[in-house]
């Protein structure tokens, strides 16, 4: 290419075949601005520090993992948690038990709205403390209606229960006909044989379709990297349950699979000071939930008109 800048007199005439000073400046300006715009658009990448490792990236779909592969994955995740928190967790992959279908029953007569279940759940399931992710929302409703428009989350009186109100905790309803599962484009969430809808956090792509589909506001998204203080980390973990999540994945109540699939009660049931929360196997006629569904005034599957058919029942005493 000729050097057009050597002769300024000629460049004014702008020879048609060469590159004039002006057109050089113009194209370099365009190039510079293009590069600057490119750099600007790539700048957010600098904040990316949580790149998936090769093993994470190449991990197979949960249902396709052989037991040996699953073992390797569990060890790898244990290593990851240990590297991050300095504590070695006990991570298992728990499968649904035979002849078990979980059902939850919540006594609206008893609930006093103390929110202990909310925080027991956060502690058990390693939810992010900042920003907060909470699976259970306790709604305060005025007596005499079930109008969700009148529900209030932020009640903060000196003492509960307050006169004239009742409290209605809402969490994942573990629907028999779950809309969240239908919309998931990658099958990262599915319903298991015991009725629990679970999420594979390593398969979730973070599209948040499920959160939009859920009529109960039960799904929560990790918009940032979850922050869990080391001293509050629950080391008893399950793959489909409470292992620490990454940024950009969905999470929700899973009936504490790390507890319930080894026969224990969920954390919210154990902490409820008034015994309003009942949990058990509906296929067992001797279970509390069977007794409640047979003998109590079980009034609602929340938003039952949507046809989601929740496994979470609200009932009254007497």
């Amino acid at each position: 290419m000729a050097n057009p800048t050597s002769n300024t007199h000629e460049s004014v005439q702008s020879p048609p075949d060469g590159l004039s000073r002006r057109s050089f400046l113009r194209s370099s300006a365009v190039l510079a601005s293009g590069l600057a715009a490119l750099a600007a658009s790539l700048a957010p990448l600098r904040h990316l520090n949580d790149f998936p490792t090769v093993e994470q990236f190449l991990q197979k779909y949960y249902k396709e993992l052989t037991p040996e592969e699953m073992k390797k994955v569990l060890r790898r995740i244990e290593d990851e948690v240990e590297r991050e928190y300095g504590l070695r967790p006990h991570l298992r992959d728990l499968k649904p038990m035979n002849g078990v279908e979980f059902v939850y029953a919540l006594n609206l007569t008893r609930c006093i709205g103390c929110r202990k279940c909310v925080h027991a759940c956060v502690a058990e399931n390693n939810q992010s403390r900042n920003p907060e992710i909470q699976y259970i929302r306790v709604l305060r409703l005025p007596h005499g209606s079930l109008d969700m428009e009148k529900a209030e989350h932020n009640y903060n009186p000196e003492m509960v229960p307050e006169k004239g109100y009742f409290y209605m905790p809402v969490q994942c309803q573990q629907c028999k006909n779950p809309p969240c599962v239908k919309v998931c484009p990658v099958h990262a969430t599915w319903q298991e044989a015991d009725g629990i809808t679970v999420i594979d956090y390593n398969w979730c792509i973070g599209c948040r379709y499920c959160a939009a589909a859920c009529p109960y506001w039960a799904r929560h998204f990790n918009f940032t990297k979850p922050s869990i203080p080391k001293e509050r980390l629950n080391l008893d973990m399950a793959y489909l349950g409470n292992r620490p999540r990454r940024q950009g994945v969905m999470e929700k109540c899973h009936f504490c699979v790390q507890r319930t699939r080894v026969g224990r009660y969920p954390a919210c049931v154990e902490v409820c000071p008034v015994g309003a929360r009942k949990f058990g196997n509906i296929l067992d006629p001797e279970s509390e939930v069977s007794y409640i569904l047979c003998t109590k005034r079980v009034f609602v599957q929340l938003k039952e008109e949507l046809g989601t058919s929740p496994r979470f029942f609200y009932y009254f005493d007497v």
Binding site: R22, L25, R26, A29, V30, A32, S33, A36, A37, L38, A39, A40, A43, M97, I112, G113, C114, R115, K116, V118, H119, A120, V122, R129, N130, P131, E132, Q134, R137, E152, H153, N154, Y155, N156, E158, M159, V160, W217, T224, P229, R232, T260, G263, R264, Y265, V269, E270, V271, C272, P273, V274, G275, K278, G280, N281, S287, E288, Y291, I292, V318
Partner: protein, 212 residues
């Protein structure tokens, strides 16, 4: 000014602006990071799974000091204590038992110690049919009046449960009536609620906006 010239100037200005912007983004100068607010950790008292109070049975299990339940340290055996009532027929709780608040039932119908305690042996309870019941087995006495609640409790539907739902995997942790209810004043008093969702919580902020 020629048209060519003007285009060149505009392009140059754009180039300078874009370069400056690019420099700013790359260097991170003046970038405001997403607001981080300190959310204090919840008080561990709200994570406690202990019951509201401790029953006699629980105290026995814990091998705690049971001298409070030794009636005949003060009372005389075989000599039923005499109850005193005021002008409104309300029981006068003696000074030695001032921690007892008589608030069981409405309309003051339960203002007699011997509705539940055995007059002849103060260390026992007595049901309405005359059965003597040990203190540690008090649910039988409660059930003699509160039938439906007792039935619910037996089925596991009234009161707290813990431990294992699967009876083959481990024991279910049951509570008895007096683990939560004070027998002299069974209504459980109101309590302080645990902190609500933080305002940065998406649910809470939407609710706060809606209320404006």
């Amino acid at each position: 000014m020629t048209k060519d010239n003007r285009t060149g100037t505009v392009l140059l200005v754009l180039a300078v602006v874009f370069s400056a912007l690019g420099l700013k983004f790359v260097s991170g100068f003046g970038t405001r990071l997403p607001a981080t607010r300190i959310i204090s950790l919840v008080d561990t008292q709200f994570l406690d799974t202990a019951t509201f109070r401790k029953s006699y049975a629980e105290l026995i299990r814990e091998k705690a000091d049971l001298s409070d339940f030794d009636c005949y340290a003060c009372h005389e055996k075989g000599k039923p204590p005499v109850l005193k009532f005021d002008a409104q027929q309300t029981l006068i709780v003696p000074k030695e038992h001032e921690d007892v608040v008589m608030k069981h039932g409405t309309h003051n119908r339960n203002n007699n110690c011997f509705n539940c305690h055995d007059e002849q042996n103060l260390e026992l309870l007595q049901a309405r049919d005359g059965r003597q019941i040990k203190l540690a087995e008090s649910p039988l006495l409660c059930g003699s009046c509160h039938g439906p609640t007792y039935r619910d409790w037996e089925a596991g539907a009234h009161g707290r449960t813990g431990g294992y739902w699967d009876r083959t995997a481990g024991p279910m942790k049951r509570q008895i009536c007096v683990d939560c209810h004070n027998p002299h004043s069974p209504k459980i008093p109101p309590r302080k609620p645990a902190p609500g969702p933080h305002l940065l919580h998406p649910v809470a902020s939407v609710a706060a906006e809606a209320s404006h």
